[in-house]
């Protein structure tokens, strides 16, 4: 009997040991020795500098605004994805481009998270960094505890994607994979899209007291012919600035019909567009 107990206890210990080994080898936690004191101060409330054109370096015309007819950027798309983009640009011209945000249902997703007009926060912790956005709202979690991306059978496309990173001095470098692609997300309202196979490497750094910078290198074996560099900057809003709800469904008087057309409702929920006589409940 005593022997049986010893064997059972030993097997439990072995089981626990193996489990612990698997856990730590899988996610690599306990590898991080960075303390909060060693990390940069990214506190405060921030806002993107400039309009919501994702790649301002290639936008045409140079003062073009996302959503205005005829505005485009020049990512290194292959022929197939350039054709997709041209289709989207044409739908923008017709007022029929489906921006997922217009339905007030789902948050924008990465990397559009870094291209939003509302405020955002960068919350630095030793084991994770969180990017919180008003628009959406959304949370991007970047694991900095030494773990790797999950294996393929534990990864599926999500709006936030899957981000792991590491600190290099005052710079956070992180890689994001597993994002939702074309059909579910866009990068901006000119109609820019990526595939679910995209991999975004972002170097995030506070370049001065009032400016954060995100330097992205986007690779996408399905959509791009070469890595696509995009840089975004964010200014620190005045001390005391607050983040607010952007609860889009609160009073959305601009539903989108089946054709992709955006309607306008009066205060009682009746469609104002003169060629449509419908009440939207």
């Amino acid at each position: 009997m005593q022997l049986v107990r010893i064997v059972m206890a030993s097997s439990k210990l072995a089981c626990l040991g193996v489990t612990a080994l698997l856990l730590f080898s899988r996610v690599g936690i306990a590898q991080s020795s960075t303390s909060l004191e060693d990390l940069p101060d990214w506190g405060g409330v921030w806002q993107m500098i400039g309009p919501t054109v994702f790649d301002r370096a290639t936008v045409e015309p140079p003062d073009g605004r996302a959503g205005r007819p005829g505005v485009r950027e020049h990512p290194p798309y292959n022929a197939e994805w350039e054709a997709k983009y041209l289709e989207n640009i044409d739908r923008v011209r017709q007022g029929r481009f489906p921006d997922p945000l217009s339905t007030c249902g789902i948050f924008p997703g990465f990397p559009r998270t870094l291209n939003l007009p509302g405020a955002l926060e960068f919350v630095v912790r030793p084991e994770q960094v969180w990017i919180l956005t008003e628009d959406g709202p959304s949370i991007t979690r970047i694991f900095t505890d030494g773990r790797s991306h999950p294996p393929p059978d534990e990864l599926w496309p999500t709006y936030s994607g899957e981000s792991v990173g590491r600190w290099e001095g005052d710079t956070l470098t992180f890689e994001t994979i597993g994002i939702k692609g074309a059909g579910d997300t866009i990068l901006d309202r000119t109609g820019l899209v990526l595939s679910e196979r995209a991999r975004i490497t972002t170097r995030l750094r506070r370049i001065d007291a009032s400016t954060m910078e995100a330097r992205m290198i986007i690779e996408d074996p399905l959509a791009l012919t070469e890595p696509w560099p995009v840089t975004k900057q964010y200014e620190r809003l005045p001390e005391g600035s607050r983040m607010f709800d952007v609860a889009c469904a609160e009073n959305n008087r601009n539903p989108v019909d089946e054709s992709g057309r955006t309607l306008t409702l009066d205060a009682d929920g009746n469609v104002l567009d003169v060629d449509i006589e419908t009440r939207v409940e």
Binding site: V92, S102, A247, C248, E250, R253, N254, T264
Partner: protein, 131 residues
């Protein structure tokens, strides 16, 4: 009252186009194709309701029409968070306020528009407003 009793009267199209360009679109979460950015209407009337809500604020304003009847206009503005940071407050418009509003009208003539600017009864200005 709408300028010259014509709710769809076009005023200062070039100036307003320039101002809209300078201050950007007031529409954030959806296509703005329904609004004619090249034109503006000037509406003088009484605030019926001010919806300080997401994803956009709305000003419901009663304006005397060409025949003297009251017409309700729906004026769509920006997002509360960014308007707040620009100095707006949930009380910026109150029911009963006498206001003059500049807006880009809807292309199809419906009584709605995208907010450009307003002058309140006390003379204060919100947004972009010039005579």
């Amino acid at each position: 009252m709408t300028k010259d009793k014509d709710p769809s009267r076009i005023v200062r199209p070039l100036l307003v186009a320039a101002l809209v360009f300078a201050c950007g679109s007031t529409v954030a979460h959806h296509s703005g194709n329904m609004f004619d950015r090249e034109q503006t209407v000037e509406l003088t009337g009484t605030v019926k309701d001010f919806q300080w809500t997401n994803p956009h604020i709305w000003i419901q304003v009663l304006v005397p029409g060409a025949e003297g009847q009251m017409e309700e206009w729906s004026i769509e503005g920006g997002v509360p968070n960014r308007l707040f940071r620009a100095g707006w407050r949930p009380t910026s418009f109150k029911p009963g306020d006498e206001v003059t509003i500049l807006a880009n009208p809807m292309r199809d003539g419906a009584k709605a528009g995208a907010f450009i600017g307003a002058r309140l009864a006390d003379g204060s200005i919100l947004g972009r407003f010039s005579e």
